[in-house]
Symmetry: D2
Subunit: 388 residues, 4 copies
């Protein structure tokens, strides 16, 4: 399984192709749209989200809602493109009028300056249109499809927010995904601890008033993965490493940890490892899950727990210091419409990319041409592992 | 550029092949051996390191010390194999005698149990021989070769220890690699802050006495990378994501961050971004480096800074609780000879894998068939970027 | 550079994404459409081509006709989908009415039967909709874009027909692409030898009358590729091998040869090799081109010549013997609307996939982020090779 | 599954690493050596084969003859290296004496000239040492291991010679691999038709006398592959295309065909396709095998038949015209010790690379961590396909 996305933030559409997905999966289209909608929500978002109401169009690889085994092609139209039709027209000839909104004051923290250097763009709009987090809408749609596959294999996943700016909302750190989903649906911050909502709202309001922005920390939990996904045998076969790449591959992510991560660095070995246990009825298990469900780069059958650290959004209304690429004079950076914090949607994006990566590993491991065969093979495998 | 390694911990040798490396690089063999030797050092190591004195043999891709452009084949002999010749013989027929040291009590935190399940091994030695960190010796050798290429391109890199167990030794967090190398060579902990040496020695001694183990945190700094390595255009083209995978792909690594990483999650946008500056003589620069030299998944010309969190070694002399895979009875885990902490060698391994990943990105970006052409192309590119 | 395509033959559209293409290439949209139109032409085509008039839509990666360096997304609408809207609706619920045209009599020579087994489809339409050569329209569009890049690098390419059924039309086997283009545009068979047109028309008419089909042989010539693309150093780095895969990866292709190919097998070494020559003004050259421009898996600066053998189309109006997958009874195979021969369009498809593969190799070899830098680097490289 | 090889023709050794091979395969080491020995045989070979007596050393991934699931590392020592120890020393400093045998007269048809240009070598020995077909010894060893896996899955394969120079020895073109193996072992040409042996010997003797060389055509037959390997869904998922690349990736191969290949181009569709049949006891089959066991890029359950066209060896004792790279003056090409024809060993090499590619496809398709699970999954799959 693999995927590519294309599309600019204010271009006509986002396009995604997912290849190697099994035939025979009956897709719940509404559920994909619910995920897209959730990505547009959250306290602290800007006005763009009021313009877009993302819905998915399926234009390949699916017939009568069922996947065909051929590549799945997805489209999300950019409703905002109507306002940018000239400026972002793919095929109109360049004119003075349609190049008016040239961006020449690169925003620190964004790809603007370096993208311009690398690709030879003097109008940095040519960079930011692609480097924009708008692209993650497509990853959420692709992730929604992968989550429907995981669900068929009895695997559940949720990503949510644990920290916004300096305020932590850890809750009880359960690994019960059902409980987590229930908790986080009770507020507009996708956090477990409802008590912290008011404090965080205030922090976001304050940041917004100051033209400033906020980042945060995301936690993802995955339940019931078969043990033994990934492998210790090669430097590039470890599944936790692939998850780390998927996380840092999302806009604004600056850190990732598996299980207790950086905390384990300060503990003794006797505190960190998860003792092995076995019961006749249920097979092999652990009495703790400090390692986040991974040993030797392989899933160990315990819940997978991944953390992602998101930097604040680099587009500040209180603009940062920069240098104009045309004049080489110091100026304030360009201000593109933006959010105060995108941690809530980012938690869905991270959930999505981890779902994609896990589906990919499962499909690259087992014969995944069609769902029924895949289910049968994984059931056999689970039984074999239980009987070890 | 790409590489594969092979070899078991007590097998005859480690083998590595590096393909796509430029022709015309004059290798400093002694320097490769110095890196191997450094990996064997550090306070808190066990007895294995007294047996092995790793040196590299080059058996392909090099003639009269100069690389040929063909795949480079490396060998590190396992001196300890002499003691394991029967038990680990690749081609002797299995007998009762040569399978005596069967491992049946999987160590929590290691690949033992899950590797056994996945590959169908009832003797878990078949797992641990490969999942052992012994393999990282080859990655250090490959990294040493890549570092010699980076040096030819005026890129310097160093990885060192910032924290062992609970004790931090941050120093001044300079990004001057020369200064760092000078500082860390003054102690056997590869730390900057000499004042902390005694305290850490004590901590390690204490852990050892208790049959316990320690992890830590590693910092890597890279200087003078050209701006624009990596790309924002795709989910899998971001170089920081590739570095994250390389780090988590090293044994025992549970977390990675780029620049200030998890700390940026708790800061305001105005504190985090690195303002853009420009000077006629030197071109584009930043007035800070909080983002660790990456924007939009691309190097931005500032020092690259990466942190890695290592869990404590999972082999404890005070053995953990486990279950015997033959009897399904609870027992103490197997004890394989091991270190109290491997954070010092791990800092060299992390330095090495980041060097490999950077060399790979450079060679996949530019025409890297031979060194002179590569140098010329990168010099042209640097000039172009400076003139932007 | 890489690409994926998606889309079913009677689905709403074909979708393609091309990633890693340089920024700054001014696209000639009309030229892309001309290629699509050429693919629909040729003597011996069926009625589908009268329905479709393929034109390209660009929905990503291009702004004001110029490539951005971000992934390029292309759409070709299936006009025929209007007649199949219910049957091929991606998201309508399955009903008795929209599954009427079930295919149960697999056509020998097509993917029908095996695709059904592999993906678990009892309605073989789910296979043939994707395995159809309709998909090659998108490869022609992608190839047209790659050819515009090659043109910028002064590389010319043409694919044409040398044999249809038993009738050969070899002409003088020139490697002058301009001359070839001029010759083949004078008939509807894309052959060089106008004298053979009548004979071939007759053969096609005869085959059509008999409900039979024809294949043929295609020749592709590429001029002015830099010497040294590809490499002898690894089993998977040889460019001629990649071209072979690209050719056989096109529907109905059963053979490929580089230069004189199978003929060289019957000759003496002294007849086959291309003697090396050198002139002060022009540098290195050869006095013949029997090896089709490749030595050691690398381009050698001579014209690249590739042949492709296409089997006849497996959809016969005089239907072949098969077995119904529902009843297991012998029957005549399903007849889907089809051509008598598709050798003319196939010659454009083969030209396209070779153009794609060559562009890919060039972009994977040189720093190809933007066109100007790429042109400069290749010019430097050509000079270096000339001065060898 | 994947592999890399390294090593120069007169360097100390060839090295190969095979990753992703299942655990639990009991290797027959003698059988690997027999394959290596067979590759050294055949009428028309030069003196090098009398020096080398290739045998395999296994230095990783195997314990007590059983594969571990970790990467398998192989070594073949170059006995001839003893005579070249100074000249090809990897780590000795360059001196006047150890660079005496400089090659400056590139041989047409070999990689010499272009390799020199690409990698910047003025001593073309640096090219020819790697581009030499000596490297294929390692591919034969790797292929021997893959063939042992195929055998465990009841898949048989054989490659042999059908034509040498102008003399064809087609025999009855059976697809019975047992029968073929029996026939070809009766002569030193690896041909089926014993009647042709004398004629071919004479041809080879004649060519040798003239300082000339010969190529030929190879046929490979594979029996009992499961139907449905490969896929029609993408341009790069077709297994026949991968086989084509594997074939052309072998030194001197200039053409490849699947089944009747180029012949099908001249036939009617009604003659080419393989009618589908079904029997209660045996399931689905065909009444002919003109398409070489492939439809839609997938195996269709019939014998796979692949042809490879090999050009004559480009090293001629009657040396070809060339130009000295130091003086730019016309000269006779360098003469390196060589064979009159290498078609016999090449037939084993082609058999080997096809075995590797098929094992790779099987392991990338099914869960191949250990042999027993793989056997079980493939048995289930075969049953499912039979019951379709």
């Amino acid at each position: 399984m693999n995927y590519i996305t294309a599309g600019e933030s204010h271009g006509p559409q986002l396009t995604g192709i997912l290849e190697g997905f099994p035939a025979g999966v009956l897709l719940d289209i509404d559920e994909i749209n619910r995920q897209l909608s959730a990505r547009q929500g959250g306290y602290g978002r800007g006005n763009r989200q009021k313009i877009e109401h993302d819905t998915i169009q399926i234009v390949g690889g699916v017939r009568h809602k069922k996947t065909l085994g051929s590549p799945i092609a997805l489209v999300i139209n950019n409703i905002d493109h109507a306002h940018w039709a000239n400026i972002m027209d793919p095929v109109a000839t360049e004119t003075e009028r349609n190049t008016l909104r040239k961006v020449t004051r690169p925003r620190p923290g964004h790809a603007d300056l370096i993208g311009g250097m690398k690709y030879g763009h003097r109008d940095l709009r040519n960079v930011l249109e692609r480097s924009s987090a708008r692209e993650t809408a497509m990853r959420v749609a692709l992730g929604a499809i992968c989550k429907q596959l995981l669900k068929q294999l009895d695997i559940s996943i949720v990503g949510y927010v644990e920290q916004i700016g300096t305020v932590k909302a850890l809750g009880n750190r359960t690994t019960d995904t059902k409980e987590i989903v229930s908790e986080i649906s009770q507020n507009d911050l996708r956090i477990i601890d409802n008590q912290k909502v008011a404090e965080i709202h205030e922090l976001i309001d304050e940041a917004k008033k100051n033209g400033d922005t906020l980042g945060g920390i995301i936690r993802v939990v995955v339940n019931n993965l078969p043990a033994g996904l990934g492998s210790y045998t090669g430097w590039n076969t470890k599944l936790d490493a692939k998850l780390a790449a998927a996380v840092v591959g999302v806009n604004a992510m600056k850190g990732v940890s598996i299980g207790d991560g950086f905390e384990t660095a300060g503990q003794f070995g006797s505190q960190v490892m998860d003792p092995i246990d076995w019961h006749k009825e249920t097979g092999w298990t652990r009495t703790s899950d400090n390692l986040g469900g991974f040993e030797g780069g392989m899933t160990n059958g315990m819940p997978v727990v991944v953390f992602a650290a998101m930097k604040p959004i680099p587009t500040l209304y209180k603009a940062l210091q920069t240098v104009n690429v045309e004049t080489h004079l110091q100026q304030k950076a360009n201000v593109e419409r933006s959010d105060t914090t995108a941690i809530v949607p980012a938690s869905i994006v991270i959930e999505s990319v981890i779902a994609i990566e896990l589906a990919k590993e499962i499909l690259n491991t087992f014969e995944g041409s069609n769902l029924e065969r895949l289910k049968k093979q994984i059931a056999d495998y689970r039984q074999e592992v239980r009987d070890f």
